[in-house]
Symmetry: C2
Subunit: 769 residues, 2 copies
């Protein structure tokens, strides 16, 4: 664990130049606006260790994976996040020497991610080998208000040099993907153009034919006055630039204003792509840097008004939760229902494809309760639109009659992951997608969503479960063989309790949902015709769910993670030497599989989802059994434990788990921030505060809170959107305050007691210890 | 199943030109001599579908495999069989048109593999587009008498053409591997030279620096008289050739005699490599084609004298067993203890690395009983020499204190397979390596081998088993979690009966072997010092073996393949639609894993190895349970079932299984002969005759036979080497005859009765029905 960044409530600050931290800082200081994003690479060239990253949402590359041992049913490709053209390049040069922080003497280095305004600022002084000393300040952002555009203001002040300063503003499309199996480049040039103050480059991906056009418009000022300089226009393959020759004297300040745009064939026809990107860059230039920044900051202000969480008395926790919310907000905005939330967002290439079960299991609550039901519904519709492909996917594995298996990893509905134990067996993902429908309906009250697609998705998933189980004569129960549960440190096990349970639940929920929809004759006849639904499916589901095998430890409340779990050597995490952790970096796979150690919440994931199905003693017993055996080597694990620990009143454990999830990347717990941030687990951090410390639930259609205040905090406060109303929870040492910001009266439970809160009113309740 | 080749007792004959069968025939007609081998590619260029293949034993390529998802402990490379320089090229050309059977009109095509003499002969008439008609005959062999050399006699007779005939004799090193993940070429040129009647090319592998030098010496005759023609010498990168311009008239017969050699850096220093290969080619030329062929055929005659199996009344069975013996004999000769037996021998690239557990479990008996104890011992020493690497390999998986895990696939002792469920979990291979030591000692009587390395290997393996099991509190037994048994259609299962049993057996055998060696004080003290052996290891092993869990079906004799086996849907192979077989080409992996269907003998492999541990009722019950559930989708499966069926008197099942293993490639049961032959399973065919129909066993140090005669056969006869004596078994309708060809008296059991047979005498016993 490293404490590298200054703890500030609203910003992340790095002081001093730390090349050894550059890769991690590039991740931490990433920017995005839902449509595009980038790592915090330097504008000027950097010959030190760096991972270039410019990403366009929805643009990916299907890299071939057919290497080595193959299995029937594997996908032909792995969808890779695509590193796109590098548009930030601003390269100062003096007397033939390019500014490069790896070779210059650097001082006064500082960078700051201002989370309130969504900007990245960097200042430094560089002394070149030729003796020239420059003060540089760069500030940039990707506009949230106009998501095709971005801007950089790059200011150079000469401390001691007088003479020629050359500045190249470039777009470089000749980039490589770090995650390329074959060291192949994924982009080909389509067209390019340059003009006096700008240039444009259109590239296309070698497969799938995604086109992206990137443009820049450049304005130069000297000591605040705009320079009327023409550039030398230059281009080589996949590269365009405008080079300006400027005379400067000691003390002069040159500012380069770069207005940039990225547009893609997802949104425009190929013929208009270049003109649209030039148009966007020109639009930005016309608005001007300051006004553009103001509109961007305004957009962020509105977001923070809805989704900020205020923690007093613990600046590390305050900074962390804002960092998590900031990253989530700039990764997915809900503006485009073809997009989803990639595990690394716009901060790195790892994990490729964009959509995992993370979306439904972890991210949905955050977007639903901060951005609202419309955004949440877009995430649901994303899956509904891919139902046909999920049915095809199940078909590849031998399932029939409309059974649907959603992919483990996808960009467009097709599976693109190829480890058999995951691709074919980690099928609990289907359950999370069903659960998200329930979760959305519970929160939104939008029962009608069942008819808008929800029931079809539930049907496909239930048909899958009904075919995936088999009757065990031995047990006289339905069993589910050969699965991988959320705990991926067990593969191809029989009767993973969590998977069996969520399958059983899906069947019951689908049955009830179907029955609820039947009374709408017109809907129902269409539905039956479209899906070829047969009424006896209902009784099949009831039969399976009532006879589903659920492994349990005899004489206890403890559900067994899977068959054979008790054959393992019984150890707890305390028995593990520190030198062997994380075990996934120190143990061979077979040893991990044989061991009792649990990667992430598995039985406890079930306790979390279905908390209302179990009494507190059962949840407690399972928590006390599994928590000590869980190594939390998935970023998705501590948040679930944090929520459960809060529920059980284990405040210290909850706080420990909260910090672990909240500052995972800032403090780089797992030594991997360099490869990008854990975006989806950041939603888990939010969950740990809202559902954990806040104890937020929905009970019988009512919001409910059971707040716990960690002893490290003076108070905390958050607001959520519930059925179109904003509700604010404030918790301090003494009391819990619930404010209903809507115009209508609302019933809210606090610690199990229901309070009717009038519109624009609030209620105070004594805090429970 | 195809019946493409004529059934002849001593040869494989293809009549007519069948381009659609060319790839398969290239495999079937493969030649080799233990040191090098090749597919039956045409000498002249062929633009139709073909898989070029020239292989040098022991020369491989470590192709990178680090693609996609990685697991700790995986090897960095996969050792690939390397396609080496193509040295057979003889290219006739008339008036600018090259002879190419894909473009010429072909008639009278016939090829014959003469298994008695080890030659491949091909004749055809080709009419070129320009009208020239040629009768061509090619005969070639790779010398068994001088394994660095090979020769081709390629005869062209003009039927209608008079004029210039151009003949290029070439060596082409610019070849590709079919099995290349990255479409990369694996060879680089080192040097080359040409002279009037020959040329030489030295290539090296881009990794590991294997050098191979290939040379040719060319002699031309016209109507039987040697031509004194100089060639045009030519070379390009990785390519050398001698081109001869010959005047021919209608009716003239030109013969090209090509004497070739391959030598490698395995046997010579780099500086002498070129000269050694030229020397070898020149040596061949000096001896001359006819004499060279005679010495080669003589070598084969001697081999057949020891290893032939004669079957009367069933020419398909006769041809098949000889084909199997022929291929085994030309794949491995025992001349070099660094070599081993690859699953495809010299007939294709699939499966890469050379050594699997196939060697110990299937191949050892054939070589031991036909080539003798010295050759068998070389196979054992191969593993002994790799013990250090096996200990390192176990170390990578977290095992300590001298525990050894032999690799699943290897060229040099290092693991080079990377599927976790195989690499890390298919650990029963360790047991087969231990069992081979017992098998060798039982047959040879060479108890001393324990002290020559056997005990060290046993110790390493036993230490592995002792660490690999764990104590299950639940069962109060030792269990073995997370393994893959011989039936690879189950992965990561707990308590595979076969693996548990062979582990238990290894521990007991090692304990007894150690006790037997202890009395040799000098050996023992050296052994203890070298291996750091502790006496309490013996009691640990006894404890584990006495408390090893062995899953069993309650109230029966049936051992359960693994925990949870009875949860599966109970089906037999008869329930499988023909269209879904083989299931490995039609079902997704998860479906295969969940199903009850068994790829290859698993519990029955244990019944086969440890037949003497079980009464016949137990073997029968297990056979009757597992045989109907076995799909035999491994070539290693039917032979084991054949042996057991013979033992149980199920003659029809035994015969069915025999034919399936014996004619697997000739009749191409699995539609994959095009990619090479199943060399290691050919030893299983031999086993099916000798141990199956012959009922050969070793009982209390005596040879024992219990022959069964399939009703399709009139008689069969084979000889084996037992403790340096040749023993011949002849079985006909009425009697069983055992001949002792040694000078000493010998006790042999027939149907359970012991007969003392004097030297050079025989005994007749009535055949049991």
């Amino acid at each position: 664990m490293k404490k590298h960044y200054k703890e500030e409530p609203w910003s992340i600050v790095e002081e001093g130049f730390h090349p050894e931290m550059q890769m991690s800082s590039e991740s931490i200081f990433s920017l995005g606006n839902g449509r595009m994003g980038q790592r915090a690479n330097f504008e000027e060239g950097y010959s030190g260790e760096t991972l270039q990253g410019n990403y366009i949402a929805g643009v990916y590359y299907p890299d071939k994976t057919r290497v080595g041992w193959w299995k029937n049913g594997y996908p032909e490709y792995f969808a890779k996040v695509l590193n796109a053209a590098n548009w930030i390049i601003i390269q100062p040069e003096i007397e033939g020497e390019k500014l490069d922080l790896a070779t210059a003497q650097v001082s006064n280095f500082r960078r700051e991610l201002d989370m309130r305004a969504g900007t990245l600022k960097r200042v430094f002084t560089a002394k070149l080998k030729n003796g020239a000393e420059l003060d540089v300040e760069s500030i940039r952002f990707m506009s949230m208000a106009d998501d095709e555009t971005a801007a950089i203001k790059y200011t150079i002040k000469s401390r001691n040099y007088s003479g020629k300063l050359k500045i190249a503003a470039a777009i470089d499309g000749d980039i490589v993907n770090q995650d390329s199996n074959y060291d192949e480049k994924f982009w080909a040039e389509v067209s390019k153009q340059t003009w006096a103050h700008g240039s444009e480059l259109t590239m296309k991906t070698k497969k799938l034919d995604f086109h992206v056009s990137t443009a820049q418009q450049i304005v130069l000022t000297k000591n605040g006055d705009e320079l009327d300089l023409s550039s030398v226009e230059a281009s080589t393959e996949k590269y365009v630039e405008n080079v300006f020759d400027i005379s400067i004297a000691q003390g002069d300040e040159i500012a380069v204003l770069k207005y940039a745009s990225n547009v893609s064939s997802l949104n425009y026809s190929l013929s208009e792509l270049s003109s649209k990107s030039i148009e966007a860059a020109s639009r930005a230039k016309e608005i001007g840097f300051n006004e553009m920044l103001q509109r961007h900051a305004e957009n962020w202000r509105n977001r923070w008004a809805n989704n900020d969480i205020i923690i007093e008395g613990d600046v590390a926790a305050q900074q962390a939760i804002r960092f998590n919310i900031f990253q989530l907000s700039q990764t997915y905005t809900g503006a485009d229902d073809r997009l989803n939330i990639g595990p690394k967002g716009f901060t790195g290439e790892k994990y490729g494809g964009s959509t995992y079960w993370d979306t439904e299991a972890y991210c949905l609550p955050f977007y639903m309760l901060t951005a609202g039901n419309d955004v949440a519904k877009k995430l649901l519709l994303y899956r509904y639109k891919q139902l046909d492909k999920a049915i095809q996917n199940a078909g590849k594995l031998g399932f029939t009659d409309g059974a649907a298996l959603y992919p483990m990893v996808t960009m467009n509905g097709e599976e693109c992951h190829n480890e058999w134990e995951i691709t074919f067996e980690e099928i609990h993902r289907n359950g999370a997608i069903a659960f998200a429908i329930k979760n959305y309906i519970d929160h939104s009250g939008d029962q009608n969503y069942l008819k808008e697609g929800g029931l079809e998705v539930l049907l496909g998933i239930s048909r899958f479960w009904a075919q995936r189980v088999n009757w065990s004569k031995l047990r006289e129960k339905y069993v589910m063989l050969g699965v991988t549960g959320p705990n991926e440190y067990e593969n191809n096990v029989n009767n993973n309790w969590y998977t069996n349970y969520i399958a059983k639940w899906t069947l019951e929920y689908t049955r009830d949902a179907a029955k609820a929809c039947m009374s709408d004759d017109r809907f129902w006849s269409d539905f039956v015709a479209k899906t070829n639904f047969k009424e006896d499916e209902l009784s099949t589901w009831s039969d399976i769910s009532s006879k589903m095998y659920q492994p349990k430890l005899d004489g206890t409340n403890i559900f067994l993670q899977q068959d054979g779990f008790l054959d393992k050597v019984d150890l707890t995490v305390d028995d593990l030497p520190a030198s062997e952790r994380p075990i996934n970096q120190n143990w061979s796979w077979d040893r991990i599989l044989r061991s009792i150690f649990i990667k992430q919440a598995d039985v406890l994931q079930g306790m979390y989802f279905f908390e209302d199905h179990f009494d507190e003693a059962t949840i407690r017993d399972n928590f006390l059994y599994y928590e000590p055996r869980t190594v939390h080597e998935s970023s998705l694990s501590p948040c679930v434990h944090a929520v459960l620990a809060s529920k059980l009143g284990m405040d210290e454990k909850a706080y420990e788990m909260y910090l672990r999830t909240a500052r995972l990347d800032l403090d780089d717990y797992n030594h991997e921030a360099d490869e990008g941030l854990h975006i989806t687990s950041m939603a888990g951090t939010w969950m740990a505060v809202v559902e954990g410390f806040g104890g937020k639930r929905v009970v019988d259609g009512r919001l409910s809170f059971s707040p716990r205040l960690p002893k490290e905090w003076d108070s905390f406060k958050f607001s959520i959107l519930y059925r179109e109303s904003t509700v604010v929870l404030e918790v301090d040492q003494d009391k819990v305050k619930i404010s209903n910001q809507s115009g209508e009266s609302m019933a809210v439970d606090v610690y199990g007691t229901t309070y009717e809160i009038a519109g624009r009113d609030s209620v105070d309740v004594n805090r429970k210890r």
